[in-house]
């Protein structure tokens, strides 16, 4: 939004990616205020936004989905970003809306971020088809892990520089790496892997609409935990099958998730494995059989796996895996967000900044809070079935 930020992008190496006709700027940003982003900028720029979207959509033969990438903590990303969701739902109701949301880490510099997050979450629950929450803290941990590996100089293990999931290999120009670059590269790789099966050939295709179909059993529960492996490839050419299996095991460990969550100890509703590269069907099946006993699936979806094989591996790797899971492990994150929200809301701190904006009332806050609470409750109910034995639902009996 702010001209300064947009101009910086236009001068960077990615300037050719963005069409200058598709940019909307304003002098000032939203001041970390969800209400300003959503209500003020929303109404001010609605027409312009719809106009530009239509123009872009007309170029498509077949529009499958929209990707919305935004942060939850600020004002523009969360406010205007979620406003966009509603616009897309009205203008293009049949097109899927995939949202990649960046949740701030707990040491966050924006004080009002809990308000922004909760208000945005209500919109996400109602208008998005699929949300991939990503946590800054987890990204940071992954980077530290990689740096540790690179710098430790273990005997015989030399990491291929291009293969780091954080590297910008494939970028046209080398420039000085800024601190957020590495973290952004991880998310970029996530999106690339997500769409790879739709873009490249493979023995088992998966399009983007299949993701929503398979991983969203109930309309409200569409938050998917993602994990990318491997994080780096050793320069050792011989890749024994153990490495391949290791890749699968890593995908389920809590260190590789892009959000602070531990899926292994929570309940899986559904899981998708998107494999790229030189992996055969038998390897995939073998690993699924191997990992299944250690994971808990909901009773009515005991074999809830969706698989896809794409022949083309990412740059610098011979194979990679993206695991998307609809898992109740997002619940603790949501509960924590609610806590942070309540701490501010109880004291009515900073509330006047929001209420000052036209169209904003206290009821917006209470509605948002109750929507989040309902979501947490639904996850609770599913968790309650975790330890129960599989209920024996009586089948239809036929008179012979």
């Amino acid at each position: 939004m702010e001209e300064g930020v947009v101009n910086e992008i236009l001068q960077g190496p990615l300037r050719d990616v963005f069409d200058s006709k598709q940019l909307i700027t304003d002098i000032s940003g939203s001041g970390n205020n969800w209400a300003v982003g959503h209500k003020v900028f929303g109404s001010r720029y609605q027409e312009q936004i719809v106009e530009k979207l239509r123009k872009a959509a007309e170029h498509c033969d077949c529009l499958q989905c929209f990707f919305i990438i935004h942060s939850m903590g600020g004002g523009t990303g969360s406010g205007l970003g979620t406003f966009l969701l509603k616009v897309l739902e009205d203008e293009f109701p049949e097109v899927y809306r995939f949202v990649t949301s960046i949740y701030p880490s707990s040491e966050d510099d924006v004080i009002t971020s809990p308000y922004n997050i909760i208000l945005a979450m209500k919109e996400l629950s109602e208008h998005a088809d699929c949300v991939l929450p990503i946590d800054n803290q987890s990204l940071f941990d992954i980077i530290s892990k990689i740096n540790l590996m690179v710098n430790s100089g273990k005997l015989g293990s030399v990491v291929k520089p291009n293969s780091l999931v954080t590297s910008s290999a494939g970028a046209l120009k080398k420039r000085q790496e800024k601190p957020f670059d590495a973290m952004n590269n991880i998310v970029a790789n996530l999106l690339l892997n997500l769409t790879s099966s739709a873009r490249f050939e493979g023995s088992l295709n998966m399009d983007l609409n299949e993701i929503s179909m398979n991983l969203v059993p109930f309309p409200q529960l569409h938050y998917l935990v993602s994990s990318l492996t491997p994080l780096y490839t050793l320069a050792d050419v011989h890749i024994p099958p153990r490495r391949l299996d290791q890749m699968f095991s890593d995908a389920f460990s809590k260190d590789h998730q892009l959000i602070r969550a531990d899926p292994k100890h929570s309940l899986y509703l559904a899981c998708a494995l998107m494999v790229r590269g030189n992996v055969q069907l038998s390897d995939l099946r073998r690993n699924i059989e191997r990992l299944k006993p250690s994971l808990q699936f909901v009773s009515w979806n005991q074999e809830g796996w969706k698989t896809s094989l794409c022949a083309v591996p990412p740059v610098g790797h011979s194979h990679s895996l993206l695991a998307l899971a609809n898992n109740t492990c997002v619940k603790p994150t949501f509960i924590e967000l609610r806590e942070r929200f309540m701490r501010l809301y109880k004291k009515k701190a900073h509330l006047h900044h929001y209420l000052r904006v036209e169209g904003m009332e206290e009821s917006c806050f209470t509605q948002a809070l109750s929507s989040l609470s309902t979501l947490i409750e639904e996850y609770d109910q599913l968790d309650a079935t975790k330890s129960m034995p599989m209920p024996d639902v009586p089948r239809l009996s036929i008179a012979v």
Binding site: C62, D207, Q280, W300, I398
Partner: protein, 386 residues
């Protein structure tokens, strides 16, 4: 459906140099069905009915004599299952006098697609109404054959497809039309259905092959008809999916009493009762093969005589590189267990209403699900009571 899939298929076929798809004999759209049966059936179906039926008509007009349609589809996805079911129905409407046999791919038990059970039951129930026979191939069985018999270490889909193609070839390659004659059968599809599907309630057919092994082992093996047929018979009655691991304990009841021979799904040594069987023999000295074992009335239900229930096709010509080979197409209780499993899983998912909103979005309501469940439970019960 998706262009890159179609293009890959067309180019692969053309590369083989032996045959290829016609220039215009394909249909594709930019977007698939997203693993959604309802999308394939209710959206793609009606929208593209005319174009697809036009393509079919062009091919039909080229035939001197149309015996029927052989439709190959999978059950787990959205296009194969949903659009496949719709096309079969359209064929029934437009070409009501010709036969329709659907070859369906039964998905892996451990899952390829999460909603595969829903897609499968919807497909099966619709096909039961519009198709004349369902030839089933199970992915799990083909996978095991690749692993154990063919000794393939890294199994890919082309290996699995190879096994399936082999099975289909062993059934549909030409055979002599009657005992002792040297004229080839004119209408294998019709003859097959005539002998194997005597009653519209029982349409599920399974295929078994013997022998099946990798080319390297072939050089060291010799076969006799007695040996092959003995194994094949035991595969039939013990419901084995392949040559290895046959359970020789299972034997037919000697009393032959139909009421005592009722199968329950929980019995350990359950015996596979057949309605009708067709054995196809290819190779040297085929006329000397003794098929008495297959004519035993204990193998069959009480309401069909072995004379009517059992048929055999023969040809001197060897198939692939096997000096002698036998195939069995059987209308029996082969598929009761897999069907029961799929219905059970779909039912428990349905009970918690998971994913239903994805189907109702495109016009498939809960009643349609219930209808499908009822029909399939009926089929399971009928087969169990053989």
């Amino acid at each position: 459906m998706e262009p890159k899939v179609i293009n890959q298929t067309l180019s692969k076929a053309a590369q083989s140099g032996r045959w290829k798809y016609g220039q215009h004999s394909y249909f594709c759209q930019k977007q698939g069905s997203g693993n959604n049966w309802a999308y394939g059936y209710s959206v793609h179906g009606p929208k593209h009915e005319e174009s697809v039926m036009n393509l079919v008509q062009k091919e039909v007009e080229k035939c001197d004599s149309l015996s029927g349609f052989f439709i190959i589809m999978s059950m787990a996805g959205g296009t194969g299952s949903g659009l496949g079911a719709f096309v079969t129905q359209s064929l029934q409407d437009q070409y009501s006098n010709s036969l329709r046999m659907n070859q369906i791919i039964w998905p892996y038990g451990t899952g390829e697609v999460i909603v595969q059970n829903y897609n499968s039951i919807l497909t099966l129930s619709h096909l039961y109404r519009s198709s004349d026979a369902l030839l089933v191939h199970e992915n799990d069985a083909a996978h095991k054959i690749c692993a154990k018999l063919m000794n393939i270490k890294q199994i890919s889909f082309s290996d699995i497809n190879q096994v399936l193609a082999h099975q289909l070839g062993s059934v549909f390659q030409p055979t002599y039309s009657t005992e002792g004659s040297f004229h080839y059968r004119r209408n294998p599809l019709g003859d097959l259905m005539e002998s194997l599907v005597p009653h519209p309630e029982f349409k599920m057919l399974g295929v078994r092959n013997i022998p099946q092994m990798s080319e390297s082992s072939l050089a060291y093996s010799t076969f006799t008809w007695t040996g092959l047929l003995k194994h094949l018979r035991q595969m039939l009655i013990s419901n084995a999916k392949m040559e290895e691991g046959i359970d020789w304990q299972v034997q037919p009841h000697f009393s032959g009493h139909p009421t005592l021979g009722k199968m329950s799904l929980n019995k350990e040594l359950h015996f596979n009762t057949s309605i009708a069987n067709l054995v196809i023999l290819r190779g040297k000295d085929v006329h000397s093969a003794d098929l008495g074992g297959f004519k035993d009335p204990a193998l069959y239900t009480s309401w069909l005589d072995p004379v009517n229930a059992f048929s055999v096709w023969k040809t001197q010509r060897a198939f692939c590189k096997y000096e002698k080979s036998a195939a069995l197409v059987s209308n029996s209780q082969f598929l009761v267990k897999p069907l029961d499993m799929i219905v059970g899983k779909a039912w428990s998912m349905f009970a918690s209403k998971a994913y239903i909103h994805q189907y109702t979005k495109f016009g498939v309501e809960e009643e349609d699900f219930l209808d499908s469940f009822t029909l399939l439970e009926q089929v399971i019960a009928s087969y169990c009571n053989l």
